[in-house]
Symmetry: C2
Subunit: 320 residues, 2 copies
């Protein structure tokens, strides 16, 4: 006799919200006088700071597949891609809301995996779960809204580029795309979760003089185009300067992939792309790496001719 | 020759986000130094106030159907159900984020309908759209996160009930359920959008002494049970005191429905249910109605015996 796995329909909404609240615990009372379980969460703020708000979603069949990722990995990613947006603003995480859509037939173990993965990253980055909602849907999706804070006027923005600015990226590119393609090729589990560059972002905001910053979600080519959109500026990229992980070219060769395309268009790097005035006192790579606590590469500069040179053209937009 | 309707795939993500930003306009700079188009929105806050955050979702096939509601109505509802949560906290709206999941085959006119409906309510209630995200998905869904504000320590909560407290509801019950059942029966369009009780909620918060408050989304029986959950208290309801819209009993008779069931369990009323100490100086109905600017009915009281008496039992939970 096989026992049917318990699904969400066996528990009901109230029990499921309690299940989340019990796992999440109580957020710091001084900042969050009221958390999960009421109509809304209450956030207490301080003078001299600004709050930063962002939301992003992970959708079944678009951003994840149950065969490829574990529920835990999916839950972790759902928060991390949002924390990456806070990193790109130079903000410190304060808390998060999770809007979870799931079919009634979802096994409770999958639900718990989502929550536990989410809470693992929440604890790691000091971003307590303080609210959200739960709804039925045909496909699963996890929409997260994060709140961060910055000293007033210090947040990093996307605008502000000028001719001659140097462009930098943190870490390496292409690793996430390679891992995803490998998992697809071999039918193996994808367990890689990006690491949000929160410390680097805060160090950039503190340093001052950053002309623009964005996190790389869709790939360098697409996200650089996003940074340039609405300006009359372009970028010259040095393809040889793009930082690749160790053994990247050989791995690409084995899979029959073009390394340049993967570096520029693979997506899901969640590294920071930022611009500094070339005469900025901190424009030196070694000093920057030490300040940001992460590898930094100068990959090119801003020019007064529209368009991006030195990168393969961005593929069709990721989302549509 | 028929012209194919333009779908989202014809425009792409960047154009769609610009389309939203253009329609939304620029939010007040003093409160929102940075809005749509960056990694996150920036919210400036004042001392002596607390911010209130809530999120809720409308999912195709669960909360709406394209045959039954227009895209505009769906967009309006998506914001209004969130504003209702702010009302239940006694908070004033500050701004909103919209996380929109849509299939690539969605007609652009439907997308515009969502946005225009959302923005209609945003303007009506002074709650500018300041950010969000856009993703592909099989079914459409609109997840909204709202930010509100309250003077520090004045927000209305769900906890705090005591024996002897009087229970009140604003407005009338059952109207939304009746409209929905009528539309289903006649295959007609459902154009009714609830009115969030923001003024009444703020007046309650200002008045002080409110022991508990919740907005009625799933129906009086379910939401009252939610208010009582985790306490050792119960409620005695006077079924004859439940406020029904004009002609309600006759309309129910014509459709073969039980009025009591619809009043207590129809759901989607988005009225406020609140508790006041019976000796509270403002416990009089006429004074309350004047203060809150809306009809108020005393429907029962809190007792020391667990359970709800005087209402038909709540049906199965709405969401699972």
């Amino acid at each position: 006799m096989t026992r049917r796995r318990r699904t969400l329909a066996d528990l009901g909404e109230t029990a499921l919200i309690r299940r989340i609240a019990r796992r999440a615990g109580v957020p710091p009372k001084r900042t969050w006088p009221l958390g999960i379980g009421d109509d809304a969460a209450i956030l207490r703020t301080r003078r001299g700071e600004e709050l930063v708000l962002s939301s992003d979603v992970q959708v079944e069949g678009v951003h994840f597949r149950f065969g490829r990722e574990t529920p835990r990995t999916i839950g972790r990613r759902a928060l991390v891609v949002n924390l990456s947006d806070l990193a790109a603003m130079g903000a410190e995480p304060v808390g998060a809301l999770l809007s979870l859509c799931v079919p009634a037939t979802l096994p409770v173990a999958t639900f718990d995996g989502f929550i536990d993965g989410f809470l693992t990253e929440a604890r790691l980055h000091g971003c307590p779960l303080v609210g959200g909602n739960l709804s039925r849907a045909k496909d699963s999706s996890l929409t997260v809204t994060v709140v961060g804070r910055c000293p007033r006027g210090r947040a990093l923005r996307r605008s502000g580029l000028r001719v001659g600015d140097s462009l930098y990226v943190t870490g390496v590119l292409g690793a996430a795309a390679l891992a995803r393609l490998r998992a697809d090729r071999h039918g193996s589990r994808l367990t890689r979760v990006p690491r949000p560059r929160l410390e680097a972002g805060r160090a950039l905001a503190k340093m001052g003089g950053v002309r623009a910053c964005i996190d790389l979600s869709d790939g360098l080519a697409s996200d650089l185009a996003r940074l340039l959109a609405g300006t009359r500026l372009g970028a010259e990229i040095d393809p040889g300067a793009l930082p690749a992980p160790r053994g990247f070219r050989r791995a690409c060769r084995e899979l029959g992939l073009d390394p340049a395309t993967l570096l520029a268009g693979g997506g899901e790097d969640y590294e920071l792309l930022f611009a500094l005035a070339s005469h900025h006192p901190d424009a030196g790579i070694e000093g920057l790496a030490e300040r940001l606590g992460v590898r930094v590469s100068r990959i090119g500069e801003i020019v007064d001719r529209v368009g991006i040179r030195g990168l393969p053209p961005a593929g069709p937009a990721h989302h549509f």
